[in-house]
Amino acid sequence: MSFDELLPLIFIGLMGVSLLVYVVSDGYDLGVGMLMHRATPEERDTMVASIGPFWDANETWLVLGVGLLLVAFPKAHGLVLSELYLPTALMLVGLILRGAAFDFRVKAKADRKAMWDRLFIAGSMLASVCQGWMLGRYISGFGEGWNYPIFAGAIAVALPMAYALLGATWLVMKTDGALQHKAVEWSKIAWPPMVLGLILISMATPWISETVRERWFTLPAMIAVASIPVTAGIALVTVRVLLGSPTVRGGLCWLPFALLVLVFFLSFLGLSYSIYPFVVIDRLTVWEAASSPDSLKVILIGVCVTLPVIVAYTAFSYRVFRGKTIELDYA
């Protein structure tokens, strides 16, 4: 394969990684946002404080992911976003409301705070549900028929659950005392629907798409790729066991979150394996959709130079705000 043919692959990889980082990082803060409806006003402040320094950078991964789709695969971008026009717009409205409410809630008059909190929760939910729906439509190649909307609908419920679980385990890691206790309980509640959703998706995807079926259920590849669901399953069970044990409120408070990130990563691998080499399943391959190698090279140089730096200062920021959450102020 020549370098020019390799370029689209590099870019689909980059795009995938950006979207994965987005899903994990904005996933936990959307999850925290959705969980807020179960928290007391004081707890809400701590919850927001736990995501406060990060949410902006988290969302930037979405901008990068969609930006790469737009610039590296303009044809796929056109196709995907015209198919998903309405859910995309609604997701954006959700993200707008959430991002705005995040700042307004502590700056507006005290008696408006409850309203902004409601908008924060609603925005987080709207964005998550829309993302689930979009994911569902995307995996199923935008098919038409009675079963497709049901499939997308199921994911539109499962993904928010996954986010909620991720958010709850984030809180287990970042808080202590009564809130941490609650977060453990929330995690336990969100665990079964998330696992159920994951199983359903794994079963339904091959059923709904011929291409995926062939990829997964042909020997000998089947044996190798089976390790993905097996590992994910072990990780999920470990999360559940940890949630039931007291150690999760002590030194191991970070482990459930870390394991869930692993599960997200594995699901992402599985999904990529199902779809490759398509950008839009059964319709457009990576190479058909890519733009000219020249401009991809120009972007690649930028990526190679900046990505390590971005990773470094993201790590710096997480280091600065490591440990349990304390109140946020602009002192």
């Binding site: 402040d45 406060g52 969302e59 789709l69 971008h77 976003l81 700056k107 005392g177 200062y313 304390i326």
Partner: protein, 463 residues
Amino acid sequence: MDAVFLARMQFAANITFHILFPSISIALGWVLLFFRLKHLRATDPQQKLDWLRAYRLWTKVFALTFALGVVSGVTMSFQFGTNWPGYMERVGNIAGPLLSYEVLTAFFLEAGFLGVMLFGHRRVGEMVHLGATFLVAFGTLMSAFWILALNSWMQTPAGYEIVNGQFHARSWLEIIFNPSFPYRLLHMVLASALTCAFLLIGISAWQLLKGVATDSASRVLRTGLVFAALAAPAQMMAGDLHGLNTLQYQPQKIAAMEGIWETTRGASLLLFAIPDDAARTNHFEVAVPKLASLILRHDADGELKGLNEFPSAHPPVFAVFWCFRIMVGMGILMLLVSWVGLWRHWRDGREFARMPRPMLWLFAGMTFAGWVATIAGWYVTEIGRQPFIVAGLIRTSDVASRVPSSSIAVTFAIYVAVYLALLVAYVGVLKYMAETADKKSYANVSVSPAGEPQQYQRRGEFA
């Protein structure tokens, strides 16, 4: 309604909402750095406290502004593709890298250090914090750099070649530093400085009127006036240069701005007119003879091309003509207000307590003057580029989306409703924050659950 028209309306509504916030934050980041340094340098304890108060209030303003800039910006990054898919297919090879570099070098920089800048005081040392503030301010400037490079390229394309209808890059230096880019960047950065300066002026004048935090408000007001008094004349000169550049590369835009239909020597400057696109003439003209030629050609008898030389390829005149007048009018007003204000302040012995209240009311009334001028200016630029999306090369109607117009109409309505509500909330909260600035400023900031064990990190642990 037809889909292209709706797509244009929707795009315009989104970008108009978006630009409101960057136009403040591009300059406000640097102002915060200035306040912080003033606070650190001050030796007099009262002064130190005043600058700290100013810093805290304006950090909150920055946080809010930035958040709205980000969320509307995320929307923008989808709008390009959803509204103008053909655009990316045709010029993606040029627009793509510029947009990616914006994300990679600017957005991540701002977003990465914003947390440390806003909330890091208790956790990092002063130098690290100043560094974070600098990087955020620098990041906003980089955003402006890249996006304006793209916008300017669409106005005055250069450094490209067309192979099989596709645009390819020939020279990146020529693409980035295309003929109108330096002027547009300078003019936009100054616009941001003015927008921010009048926000400082307006809000602190309001605080003085209400008797809130008067000591720190006076300092901020003085700072704002000085900034504005410097930036306003600079902006006029930059605008003049920008206009000369436009005359060279987009004469039809100038003809629309000046309402000139027939090519004339010694064209007069229209102070008032109602341009009529259908009749191809102006009504109710009030004109100063020869002035337009004098300004644009620096020669009273210089020739200016008229719109009739560009059949079916010139912009709609009415909007461009009037937006231009609004911008220039605001520019003149800003100059007058800042200079008269500063002069008066000097006469009052540098005491705002002695400044006449109507003057303070005028300042307060000008709080959002920068927004008006900025938006008017952008409308001149963007509507003045019509009917092309890339000046002279690609028509807007050729690249529009194939999404059904009903979908566009629905989302358009939702966006506008959300934006209007947020705009009202934003202005309301600015007012509220200004009025409550001296009550212990964090009356309603998060309190952690009382009585719970907390692991506070020690101040400056990482410094």
